[in-house]
Amino acid sequence: MLELKNVSFDAQGDNGKVEIVRDISLTVPDNKFIVITGPNGGGKSTLAKLIAGIEKNTAGKIIFNGEDITEKNITERARLGIGFAFQQPVRFKGLTVLDLLRIAAGKPIKIDKACEYLSEVGLCAKDYINREVNASLSGGELKRIEIATVLARDVKLALFDEPEAGIDLWSFKNLIRIFENMQQSDKQRTIVVISHQERILNIADEIIVLAEGKVVKQGSKEEILPEIIGTKYAAGACYKLEGAEENA
């Protein structure tokens, strides 16, 4: 179980301090599929990075399975079972897909095991296993490999930052299938996905709506989804622009 207690994050902007995450307290129960949604700039990615330790919260506490991890670094949190799939996956010259999956697994896994993870994300394993994770891979391919590195880790909490970003329509169908499979798998893990996509929201057990650094709604899909479809929370950038006009 993940608990955030009064977590805040301030960044230094051009005009002084900017509050990105404001005093968020929430509980993410075990073995659930949670989707965090809300307008751009609402603090979703930052919140995920705070949980993984990539950014350090400026106030509040983060408790993971009863342990206070607020002061723990990225590596320590990873070893406690927190996984993170980046919105924009990183490229590595020289490291192959197999190298990366082996690093992720934390042991020298056999090729057939690595192939399973690739198949799970819809990549034909034999075409990819020895490819370098470099600029020769497309954004969509990279994104799936990124997801495979999280699958290979056997984590307790998997965070996915906008997995659909940069993925074409065809690949998007596969992406949904990957998450459906993950959700139905018997592995005990909590999945937290940051997404704007209705189809991903549709498979959530629980939805959290974040705006202006705060939780504005949290509840079951049945409860939240009808409220946000077609509203300002699902509308993203346009809402912000309209808001700006109204304020002008």
Partner: protein, 308 residues
């Protein structure tokens, strides 16, 4: 039988990946003397009359054979210059493994300057692998200054793989190549310097006839206060294609000077160069740390992959 001690065998393992006497032709040189040699029906090795190196002659049509010519120095204060000439006939397909390992536990500098000349016959294919390695904790420096000259006849191909990953204090490498019609040269250089080491690598590749091509790629890592200079010039004198690339990671207080250069003397010469120097990207470290590695483990993985 090879007359070598444990340190020399260890050096051989590092540079040639050999645990025993290799198959095929070989010449092992240790502390300035030949300590083992084997020739085959197609590959002959003879000492030069003046004793400063060897001539390797490979007959026309020799296929799937190899020549190993490792050199080790384990005596402090030894300086040598060795000339090895390879005469490769026509229509061959051979592997040549060279390399030098220096173990210097003493106070005096040890130096090996190997001058390798390759005459590659028509339509022959050569793969050349060269590794350099240094060990020993003495104050004496370990110095390697290899010179490689490659003369390629029509339709020949040469792939050169050169690596220097550890322990060589000072290196000045010069590679010169001249290519005739449809000849193809591929160079893959990998270099890591640490401590206060210096490494200079110079290439001058002349594409003299139509259809010739060269691809010279260097990947290097400079750590601590080490210094590297990569100076690669491809000269296009005909309808040819050339590409040179220098890709470097810089760490600590390392310094790198990359000078990729192109000279086109023909309107049909297609030449490209690329150079990039930078530290390890923070996001690469973060990604590997989210997979459970510490920062220094992540750094090692990134460098190992980069130099693979």
């Amino acid at each position: 039988m090879l007359k070598m001690d444990a340190i020399q065998m260890q050096l051989i393992r590092e540079i040639a990946d050999l645990h025993d006497v290799p198959e095929g032709a070989y010449n092992f040189r240790a502390n300035g003397e030949s300590v083992g040699r084997n020739t085959t029906a197609n590959i002959d090795i003879k000492s030069k009359i003046e004793g400063s190196g060897i001539d390797i002659r490979i007959k026309d049509g020799t296929k799937n054979e190899s020549v190993h010519i490792p050199v080790v120095l384990s005596e402090s204060g030894l300086k040598e210059t060795v000339y090895n000439d390879f005469f490769i006939g026509e229509n061959c397909d051979v592997l040549i493994v060279a390399g030098c390992g220096i173990d210097n536990c003493g106070q005096q500098d040890s130096e090996h300057d190997g001058i390798h000349r390759f005459y590659v016959g028509k339509n022959s294919k050569v793969r050349y692998v060269e590794k350099h390695y240094g060990s020993g904790d003495g104050n004496g420096k370990r110095i390697l200054n290899p010179v490689t000259e490659v003369y390629m006849e029509e339709g020949s191909t040469m792939e050169m793989e050169m690596a220097q990953i550890k322990g060589v204090d000072s290196t000045e490498r010069a590679t010169v190549a001249e290519l005739k019609k449809d000849a193809k040269l591929v160079v893959r250089e990998r270099l890591m310097t640490h401590g206060s080491q210096t490494a200079i690598s110079t290439y001058k590749v002349s594409l003299n006839e139509d259809g010739s091509s060269a691809d010279v790629v260097s990947r290097s890592v400079a750590r601590d206060t080490s210094y590297q200079k990569f100076d690669a010039c491809i000269i296009g004198n005909a309808a040819c294609s050339g590409h040179t690339e220098c890709d470097s990671i810089i760490m600590d207080k390392g310094r790198i000077l990359a000078l990729p250069a192109l000279e086109a003397n023909s309107v049909d010469a297609a030449l490209v160069h690329e150079a990039a120097i930078g530290k390890i990207a923070g996001e690469q470290l973060i990604k590997l740390m989210t997979l459970g590695l510490t920062e220094s483990e992540a750094e090692e993985q990134i460098i190992n992959g980069f130099l693979k």
